[in-house]
């Protein structure tokens, strides 16, 4: 398996896509943190509104950073997943790998593993970058740098918050992975997952607004469960200005039980991986 992973990582070498996407993510993160900070500076007041505190002052800003890491990360990593799987069909290199005696389950496993390594590095770098940004804004706003606020996380909880975010990114990435496998195409998978993410955001808001039976239908969507999991990252209860997140901020009463939501996301992931493998196993490989 080590050599399969090594071969996957070799394939990524010299591809510019992860680098371009990293720049995009860094820019959006900077905007998330510095945007609210600059507008606060511009207003000339010294006191902080609650939403301003949530946006760029530690430790509250952790949730804002992770929301952006999730929202943007899910979309960008979906693009990466679609490209990892789809380009091999475009180039015809799936054939070249399979005829070397790499079984189909191993081929998919290696892809997932390679994707996991790239994705984890990508999200970790993004989180670290967000932390640096918010350290800067917290210092500039002359607020203390501490986790020790009411309902603040312990130092051990910060990595947990990050892992929670990674977990909530996973279903979107695997959706793109599945679509690329189903359509043998990067473009179809990127398009499909972007449309899904976009439509889901709108539908969740609309269905929630209608309430009743319609609100229950939100259970079908990944985002509804993601909201419940990410809500655990929130410190305090104030609203936050989450500029790049398509998800609407949920009402507390509206949230699912996080354990149940975690399980639901696991089922989505299993379904996408299982369906990809099933399709891959039973179809001819053509380029």
């Amino acid at each position: 398996m080590i050599s399969l992973l090594a071969s996957e990582l070799l394939k990524v070498r010299g591809r510019w896509l992860p680098w371009i996407l990293s720049v995009v993510l860094a820019a959006l993160l900077a905007l998330t943190i510095f945007g609210p900070y600059l507008s606060w500076r511009g207003s000339g007041t010294q006191s902080l509104e609650e939403f301003e505190q949530q946006s760029f002052v530690l430790p509250w800003s952790l949730a804002a950073i992770l929301d952006t890491v999730h929202g943007v990360g899910a979309i960008l990593l979906a693009v990466v997943a679609a490209s990892f799987v789809g380009t091999e069909y475009g180039w015809g290199t799936v054939r070249s790998c399979l005829i070397r005696g790499q079984t189909r389950p191993r081929y998919l496993a290696a892809k997932l593993l390679g994707l996991a390594v790239v994705g984890l590095i990508f999200l970790a770098v993004a989180f670290a970058l967000g932390l640096i940004f918010t350290l800067v804004t917290t210092r500039l706003a002359e607020r203390p740098i501490t986790l020790d606020v009411p309902a603040g996380p312990s130092p051990a909880e910060v990595p947990l918050m990050f892992l929670r975010t990674v977990y909530a990114v996973l279903p979107y990435v695997l959706l793109a992975f599945f679509l690329a496998e189903a359509f043998h195409s990067t473009a179809a998978a990127v398009g499909g997952s972007l449309i899904y993410t976009f439509v889901e955001g709108i539908l969740l808001a609309v269905l929630g607004g209608i309430g009743g039976r319609a609100a229950d239908m939100r259970l079908l969507f990944i985002g509804h469960h993601v909201n419940a999991v990410l809500e655990l990252n929130r410190i305090g209860v104030g609203p936050i200005q989450a500029g790049f997140v398509l998800r609407p901020r949920p009402e507390a009463a509206d949230l699912l039980d996080p354990a149940q939501a975690t399980l639901a996301l696991a089922l989505y992931c299993l379904f996408f991986v299982g369906a990809s493998l099933w399709l891959f196993q039973r179809r001819d490989v053509r380029s």
Binding site: S3, L4, A6, S7, L10, K11, R13, G14, R15, W91, G92, T93, R95, S96, C97, L98, I99, R100, G101, Q102, T103, R106, R282, D284, V285, S287
Partner: protein, 311 residues
């Protein structure tokens, strides 16, 4: 599947009733092939006859509708990973990672095969004449260079069976000659080689055995040497073709006879020319012309395919 036939351990590749449909099109029909160690098997057929489809099924990337493939005496479907590691293949229009160098591409494939050292990679790059361009991105390679890189990839793990789908496609004449020589060498090294081609003279020059495919069906399968022996004939023009036919039919060392007016085609080794003229003269029949006739694989091909041009 139990093996049968002579020296079963020598059979490296066998297909049994292999059949593939694309919708209503029957691309490969009930194909029974057998390739042994040391054989260079030419899989000859016109474009669209099902060569690539057959090779796809042998390598496990296409699923047969019926029948199965045995490699090294094992069911290929059940032991795909194991048998493919002992196999090297060049697919039709071979594919690589275009953003990586030729050498990096080989390293990726080497990792998948296992047990290929960096030195070995350079060795095969040298063998196919690409060592000088090994650091260039594959994107910049010509069709012929990709074909050579594919050959290097197919050979680097020293496989016992080499499967090649029209490996001289896209090569210049010198390249073709080199690759044909390489294929012959592989056979002499005791490997089994299965090579498809739509070029008769290529098969004639490089292969020990030939199977002829037409519209997905195997029409004939035999050693090239037998074919060429079959092909040895004398062409004669005689004064009395009718009587000459009768005389020659009575000789047990004369094979098939065909007549065209006063011209006869006699299937007989050319060194029998003297005997032929003597016997006919004894019967008062005289030769206006006598010359050796080299029946080519092409004639055989046309004969079995019912006159369809191979190209």
């Amino acid at each position: 599947m139990p093996s049968h036939g002579p020296a079963p351990s020598d059979v490296v590749l066998r297909t049994v009733g292999l059949t593939k449909r694309y919708g209503r099109l029957l691309a490969v029909a009930d194909l029974d092939l057998e390739v042994r160690r040391g054989q260079v098997y030419g899989f000859l057929g016109p474009n669209g006859s099902g060569k690539t489809t057959t090779i796809g099924m042998i390598l496990g990337i296409l699923r047969p509708n019926r029948g199965h493939v045995e490699l090294f005496g094992l069911d290929a479907r059940q032991h795909l990973a194991a048998v493919l590691r002992r196999t090297g293949a060049v697919m039709e229009s071979p594919s690589f990672y275009p953003h990586l160098s030729g050498r990096a591409n080989l390293r990726i494939f080497a990792l998948l095969s296992g047990g290929v050292s960096r030195r070995r990679i350079d060795e095969v790059l040298d063998l196919v004449g690409l060592l000088g361009r090994a650091a260039s991105k594959v994107r910049t390679y010509s069709m012929g260079m990709r074909q050579r890189l594919a050959l290097a990839a197919a050979l680097m793990h020293d496989p016992e069976l080499v499967v090649l789908d029209e490996p001289t496609n896209g090569l210049d004449p010198a390249g073709m000659r080199e690759v044909r020589q390489l294929i012959r060498n592989l056979g002499q090294m005791g490997k089994a080689v299965f090579v498809s081609s739509h070029l008769l003279h290529e098969v004639e020059q490089t292969c020990t055995d030939v199977g002829i495919l037409k519209q997905g069906r195997l029409l004939a399968q035999q050693p090239v040497s037998e074919l060429l022996q079959r092909g040895q004939a004398l062409e004669l023009e005689v004064t009395d073709a009718e009587r000459a036919m009768a005389v020659l039919r009575g000789l047990d060392w004369v094979g098939e006879l065909t007549r065209n007016d006063n011209r006869l085609l006699v299937q007989v080794p050319p060194e029998r020319a003297v005997d032929i003229s003597r016997v006919l003269a004894e019967h008062g029949i005289y030769l206006a012309e006598l010359r050796p006739h080299h029946n080519t694989l092409e004639e055989f091909f046309l004969e079995v395919t019912g006159g369809e041009e191979p190209l």
